[in-house]
């Protein structure tokens, strides 16, 4: 029996047992579709987080007061104690390091904003002109805080604040009162919405000196640093640690987080999650494989007389084994392809429903899903096929 005839004959068998074949193909397909969709969700989530994180800056380092208990732990640093303050002088020192392109000191507080007969509490950010390029922020109108003029009473409004206070008139050039001080609006931020849990639409930004005076503090909340290049990130971190250790009397009491390290941590966690989810989905393929085995065993039993007849007209045991084998290959193959298409369709629907989520199945997952389906289908058929091949022809023929 030629290979082409074996495939053609078993294909006809698959087609003639329509309902049975469709059920197996569907079971296989759902397993493959689950792999394709779940990995797309996992990988989509990973890409979403990474995109969000990349959008907040390039080659970014964050200096915060307090020392992380376990090195590299982001949470430890955030929750850690604050033994010594970061100062504006520290920030200026770091700005002079050769690996550093620019820096932006940061203070955060709340104050009452009043203008045009309106009054509301807003989150106040104190910083300098370089905050805009470091954080990849955009202005809708006007200019940001002027360079080197941190003592000018300028204020930049978040998009929503500007809209609330000056819905009809031009915000630029307007005078506002923040806390006890007067400021002049120099610019309005472009609407960005929520980004990394921080809504820049509802803040105002003032020069760092004013912020420190307003909140009566000399310490900084953070210092944002942009390294000159990707290769400068590690040296910059070391230089920052060394510089601040020196200026803090030999105490290493600050923490430097690199955007790079956080990115790769998230990348690792979410990638592992995707793998785990793919593994769980693959289990449903094993279940489908067991279903194939069961159905093929039933088929061997059902077609016993037929197998006897085939032997009587000259089929060898290996002809019969190959026929059953080819049948399982067709079923798994059809299931794998249908599942892949279903999964791709599901992903398309996901992308339409959640445009921010790049729900594309990674190539490795699609290939692995299809391969696992084929392999389980084939392995599941080995035993039934050899049962069929081993049947005694006379006994098989006498079975009705």
């Amino acid at each position: 029996m030629t290979l082409a005839d074996t495939l053609r004959t078993s294909f006809k068998t698959v087609v003639s047992y329509r309902v049975r074949s469709l059920l197996i193909i569907l079971a296989m397909a759902l397993g493959v579709a689950a792999v394709v969709v779940l990995t797309a969700l996992g990988d989509g989530a990973r890409n979403y987080v990474i995109n969000q994180f990349s959008s907040i800056g390039t080659n970014l380092l964050v200096v915060l007061p307090g020392r992380a208990e376990t090195s590299g732990s982001f949470l430890g640093a955030v929750l850690g104690q604050t033994p010594r303050d970061l100062t504006l002088k520290d920030a200026q020192l770091l700005g002079r390091l050769p690996q550093v392109r620019r820096y932006a000191p940061l203070n955060v507080g709340a104050a009452e904003l009043s203008a045009a007969n309106r009054l509301r509490e807003v989150t106040v950010l104190g910083s300098n002109a370089d905050l805009i390029p470091i954080r990849h922020m955009k202005l809708a109108q006007g200019g940001f805080l002027a360079h080197g003029t941190e003592r000018n009473a300028q204020i930049v409004l978040g998009a929503k604040i500007a809209n609330e206070f000056f819905p009809r008139s031009q915000a630029i050039g307007q005078r506002v009162r923040l806390g006890d001080s007067r400021f002049m609006v120099s610019g309005v931020l472009a609407a960005q919405g929520e980004s990394m849990g921080f809504n820049t639409d509802e803040i105002v930004i003032i020069p760092i000196d004013y912020a420190q005076a307003m909140f009566n503090t000399t310490s900084l909340f953070r210092i944002l640093i942009e390294a000159k290049s990707h290769n400068d990130i590690e040296p910059a971190k070391q230089a920052i640690l060394a510089t601040l250790k020196q200026s803090h009397d030999g105490e290493e009491d600050i923490t430097v987080i690199t955007q790079d390290a956080i990115l790769s941590t998230f990348d690792r966690i979410l990638h592992t999650m995707t793998l785990a989810v793919a593994g769980i989905a693959a289990i449903s393929l094993i279940v489908a494989g067991i279903l194939v085995m069961n159905v093929m065993l039933v088929a061997v039993n059902q077609r016993t007389a037929e197998i006897g007849l085939l032997k009587a007209i000259g089929a060898t045991s290996s002809d019969i084994r190959r026929l059953f084998f080819a049948e399982a290959v067709w079923l798994s193959f059809a299931g794998a392809i249908l599942g892949f298409l279903l999964g791709q369709f599901g992903n398309l629907m996901l992308r339409l429903a959640f445009p921010q989520l790049p729900a594309w199945a990674p190539v490795w997952a699609s290939i692995a899903g299809i391969l696992v389906a084929l392999i389980t289908g084939i392995v599941a058929c080995l035993w039934p096929a050899s049962q069929a091949a081993r049947l005694d022809a006379v006994k098989a023929l006498s079975k009705r």
Partner: protein, 227 residues
């Protein structure tokens, strides 16, 4: 061409041993027409299955066309079944999901014949057995006589030298049974060896050589003068 010497075939039922064949000696020359008769359980089917290489004797020698069959591998035996032997069964044994033409084509597929050649052969067989109108019908849509004609067409499509028919008319009424026997006898006239197991004395008497069996043994073996 068929030479059986001291063939024994036993079956074990619990602690009991049943001698389905008990020391069979038989020589059938090429082109003979032989009928085998005997009560149920006398070993007729077992004998036919051994001649047709579907079953193996426990002891004895079997030579077919001068080759000792008992020494051949499973694959070699399958090849002989494919090329030299055609089986016709009482219950037809057609594959229900295949059409008449596809059932007839099966032995050619197993033999690896290219599709165009198969088409020609199957068409000729459909013509010869007057099944042209039924070519694309499934067995369920055929009468008993038509089914057996399909089975005979399938058994002869490889032009075997031996046709083994185990009660071929057992499921057919008298008239149709006689027609089927006539078809088989036509094959005999073209030189094929024909061995028919039958219950019907009248049909059995048509053969040129009549063998009677009982309890796994050959009781009588008579040849007509004409044979």
């Amino acid at each position: 061409m068929i030479r059986l010497s001291a063939i024994t075939r036993t079956f074990h039922m619990g602690d009991q041993t049943v001698y389905a064949l008990n020391g069979i000696n038989l020589h059938i020359a090429s082109g003979e027409y032989v009928s085998i008769m005997g009560p149920s359980g006398s070993g007729k089917s077992t004998l036919l299955n051994i001649i047709g290489l579907l079953d193996q004797p426990d002891s004895g020698r079997y030579e077919l066309d001068g080759r000792l069959i008992t020494d051949l591998s499973e694959t070699e035996q399958a090849q002989i079944r494919r090329e030299k032997i055609g089986f016709v069964f009482q219950s037809f044994h057609l594959i229900p999901r295949l059409t008449a033409a596809e059932n007839i084509e099966l032995p050619l597929i197993l033999n690896g014949m290219p599709q165009e050649q198969r088409q020609i052969r199957v068409n000729d067989a459909l013509q010869a057995f007057e099944l042209k109108q039924r070519a694309s019908h499934r067995p369920a849509e055929l009468s008993g006589g038509q089914r057996q004609r399909v089975a005979i067409a399938r058994a002869t499509i490889m032009q075997p030298s031996v046709i083994l028919a185990d009660e071929p008319t057992g499921n057919l009424d008298h008239q149709i049974g006689a027609e089927v026997m006539a078809l088989l006898e036509n094959l005999h006239h073209t030189g094929t060896t024909l061995i028919v197991v039958t219950h019907d004395r009248e049909l059995g008497a048509r053969a040129h050589r009549q063998i009677a069996m009982r309890d796994g043994k050959i009781l009588t073996d008579q040849a007509d003068d004409a044979g």
